[in-house]
Amino acid sequence: MRYLPLTDTDRGAMLSVIGASSVDDLFVDVPEAARLSGPIAGLPNHASELAVERHMTALARKNTVAGEVPFFLGCGAYRHHVPASVDHMIQRGEFLTAYTPYQPEIAQGTLQMLFEFQTQVARLLGTDVANASMYDGSTACWEAIGMARRITKRGKAILSSGLHPHYVSVAKTMAKYTGDALETSAPTLTAETDIDALIAAIDGDTSCVVVQYPDILGRIADLTPLADACHANKALLIAVVTEPVALGAIRSPGEMDADIVVGEGQSLGVGLQFGGPYVGLFGCKDKYVRQMPGRLCGETVDADGKRGFVLTLSTREQHIRREKATSNICTNSGLCALAFSIHMTLLGEKGLRDLAGLNHALAVHAAERLAQVPGVSLVNDAFFNEFTVTLPVEARPVVRTLAERGVLAGVSLGRLYPGEDALANGLVIAVTETTTAEDIETLATALQEVLA
């Protein structure tokens, strides 16, 4: 109980100030039937720091660490090298242990960082503005669909077949309760994206079209014709970016006239972390800012005329408007936003472009090498750092077999789309700057042996 500073002497002195004979007197309002007389049975008592370290370390050892094996998993979570100073800086107590900046005079550090983050994200996504982060990419995607409904007063969203299936699941869960109609389908294993089909599906009830860029199979396509078709029908184009590093190499969705661009920011600064916490990116055009969910930091001045920053436009938020709120979102992902922002600051434009170029070049090399494995075909014409291959057999058991051999080969489409037999032979492979030429060779050789 090393985290509790009160001594029994303190407790006694405090109880006498309160006028209570024992701490039990402070729980008199708990109905007797619900009062517990001692520690809850069946749970262990407190442990030393050393004992807890041993316990947690033993659990950690039961996992295969991505950095210790040839590793090719992506599909919405990417392994990039995070400079040491990122994690060091976010562990400064003044960032780590600060609260939401409700008292701006003593929270300028967090607020200025959020303002810088908003600007970095807006520039990267190509949008006019961005918010101070969401929980993650999938919930940001859902919030964007809700925002399109509020703006267009229409309730039908068309989701690209290239949208991450978990993002689709999250949208379906929420839509069941808000009444949105969602049009969805599974992808087909071709080099072509479904842009033409999406354009054909837009009608007068469409609130938005949601497209992922690059998509779940790693494909990329020009979004401009889709944006034009959306706008001709007074619908919004929502673009989802799950790999922000890609935007160092390819045009941003905002440049192609997307109205709302959301993303998963995990790639920069945050790390894999078995799925969370991550950081949702959310940008949009200026004219929609008052419908944007989540926290916003704005520039202002203090009483002495000095520049400063505050949380702003909170009249959209739940603590002011209760049931009329734009969203029920309360916390954001501040510390992960900080990690993202520091990593982006270290990279700068030059570093991001170099990093993106390196990712792409290694991925091209891997795609060419794997396509030489007998029975393996490359699906993509265009891709950034992630692409799809088809195997002559179902990919899921192949991935498991390769994992037993110490190679984490990629994400099988059988895992992501269990009901879709047509996708079962598909394997999505991600390559980043952390992938070495030896890793690629190890994967190609192991794959060839397993398929033989």
Binding site: M1, L6, I18, F27, D29, P31, A34, R35, I40, N45, E53, M56, T57, L59, N63, S85, M89, G93, L96, Y99, T100, I106, Q108, G109, E116, R123, L124, A132, S133, Y135, D136, H164, S169, V170, K172, T178, L247, I250, R251, G275, G276, P277, V289, D302, A303, T312, R322, N328, T331, G334, C336, M344, G348, E349, D354, G357, L358, R400, A403, R415
Partner: protein, 522 residues
């Protein structure tokens, strides 16, 4: 390209009253000003060394980015200095007491951070084959066991990303259960006035109609009014316990029984679970769903606004409707129940709330904290949190108006009002003066049922000495506010910034940096 051709121009020294000389830089010794990265960085500076890319043909589908993005870079030393200087403009729990009622700012043990950073947890992909992530699944399973046992509930959904996300999870389970019963026509959720603002927002978001239930004079939900409103159109109630007035809802079991008899469900906002953990099991009070803010009760750091984590515990009645994914123990180890593997036990699940498995990094921190305290320590946590809050209440009730001082012991937070201050003085003046005393202010103007509310939550990790200093400071500031001390109106005087103009920020929002300073300098 350099983003800001002119560079950062410090403002000219300005004479200030009080005799202290103005400085050229705007810095004041260790109080340092810091420009934006857009004013000090450039697009051709970088703080990372990236190996040259091997020669390869580009396969970017003709979408190669040509236009500049406009992202400034800094070298590593400049980056470290920038963020270090920014960090010094922040108040934090590592610096001092943070008495934010309902927000629960307690000490963040560094062991939690160290454990979360073990590569076996931090460097593991969410879609890795389950045989390679057995340790991660075991962490989730162990934490789930603790949460279910401490709350006396049947199951727990781990994936919600934050408390408000957890509220949505609970409400969606209620909705799914009603629909399964063919009672989708129950559209009304009753929410007491003292509920967290997220509660009604959540219910409305999920398609329910929200009706307020008044509070009694002693700061609790009016259970008679609530019971009178129950009927065939009511889906359930959302109730916060301990509530936002800092009080235990004595009638919760009675209310739960009535709600159940009327065919509804009880959602409990568990944001304040830290006050009763180890002493009361919400399951014994008839609760059907409750979220637990891991960051509050189990001390994962708030990080300037997140990330949070909001697992939701369920009663037997709501368990079949809980979201996926789920971790289950089998003969061979742990398995992950996702859409693809959902069996009859999960066939009624309302679906997936988030892309992966929730806030794994928070789970490792929370489990570390829970194991450190154990069952005995957690009980002591609740007792000390409640003891500290009552000590603050009784030490200040003769100085500040305490509207519920006679309503029974407060739980983990004490509430005061602005009654009795001099004309023109209000809660905000006390809050800003507390900043000058070196404390983060308490929660202001919440809950809404108390005029000029000041909600003080010291938490269990404050020593008596720290509390005595805080009590002394608040007493002094309150006496000044009662006496009409005009200097309070311009507080804080010693913070990095004076009072900030929030109206201007909202009226003409400036949300991203545009080269305003650069233009002004030209």
């Amino acid at each position: 390209m350099t983003i800001n051709q002119s560079g950062w121009k410090p403002s000219a020294p300005e004479a200030k009253d009080g005799g202290a000389p103005a400085t050229f830089t705007g810095n004041k010794a260790l109080m340092l000003e810091e420009a934006l990265i857009f004013e000090i960085g450039s697009t051709d500076t970088t703080g990372v060394d990236i190996v040259p890319a091997p020669k390869a043909a580009s396969r970017l589908g003709g979408l190669t980015r040509d236009a500049a993005i406009g992202l400034p870079g800094l070298s590593e030393p400049e980056t470290v200095r920038h963020y270090t200087r920014l960090s010094r403009q922040n108040y934090a729990i590592d610096l001092g007491l943070f008495p934010l009622g309902s927000c629960t700012m307690k000490h963040n043990p560094r062991l939690n951070e160290k454990m979360a950073r073990l590569p076996g947890f931090s460097d593991v992909h969410p879609l890795a084959p389950v045989d390679t992530v057995q340790g991660a699944l075991e962490v989730i399973h162990q934490l789930a066991h603790w949460l279910v046992t401490l709350t006396g509930m049947t199951s727990v959904a781990m994936s919600p990303k934050a408390g408000a996300h957890g509220e949505l999870c609970g409400i969606l389970a209620i909705k799914a259960a009603l629909e399964k019963r063919g009672e989708g026509h129950r559209k009304v959720i009753l929410v007491p006035e003292s509920a967290h603002g997220t509660n009604p927002a959540t219910a409305a978001f999920a398609g329910f109609k929200v009706e307020d239930i008044p509070a009694t004079a002693d700061g609790r939900v009016d259970s008679e009014a609530l019971k009178a409103r129950l009927g065939p159109d009511v889906a359930g109630v959302m109730i916060t316990n301990p509530n936002t007035c800092g009080l235990f809802e004595r009638d919760l079991k009675d209310i739960s029984d009535a709600v159940h008899a009327a065919g509804g469900y009880v959602y409990c906002d568990g944001a304040n679970f830290n006050a009763i953990v180890g002493r009361v099991r919400p399951g014994d009070l008839g609760v059907d769903a409750m979220h637990i803010n891991l960051h509050k009760t189990f001390s994962t750091p708030h990080g300037g606004g997140g990330p949070g984590s909001g697992p939701v515990v369920f009663s037997e009645a709501l368990t079949p409707f809980a979201p996926l994914p789920f971790v289950e123990k089998t003969g061979e180890g742990f398995r992950l129940v996702e859409e693809e593997t959902a069996d009859e036990h999960h066939a009624d699940s309302f679906g997936r709330m988030v892309a992966f498995h929730g806030q794994m990094g928070m789970f490792t921190r929370a489990l570390t904290y829970i194991l450190s305290h154990g069952a005995d320590g957690l009980r002591q946590v609740a007792e000390d949190a409640v003891l500290n809050a009552n000590y603050v209440l009784r030490s200040l009730e003769n100085t500040l108006d305490a509207p519920f001082a006679n309503s029974g012991p407060c739980m983990h937070e004490a509430i005061f009002s602005d009654e009795g201050l001099a004309d023109g003085f209000s809660t905000i003046d006390i809050a800003k003066a507390l900043i000058d005393e070196g404390f983060h202010p308490m929660t202001m103007y919440f809950p809404l049922v108390v005029h000029g509310a000041m909600l003080v939550e010291p938490t269990e990790t404050e020593s008596k000495a720290a509390l005595d200093q805080f009590i002394g400071a608040l007493r002094s500031v309150a006496e000044r506010a009662k006496a009409g001390d005009a200097s309070l109106k311009t507080a804080p005087h010693f913070a990095p910034r004076a009072r900030l103009d929030e109206t201007q920020a909202a009226r003409k929002p400036v949300l991203v940096w545009k080269e305003t300073l650069a233009k002004a300098a030209e």
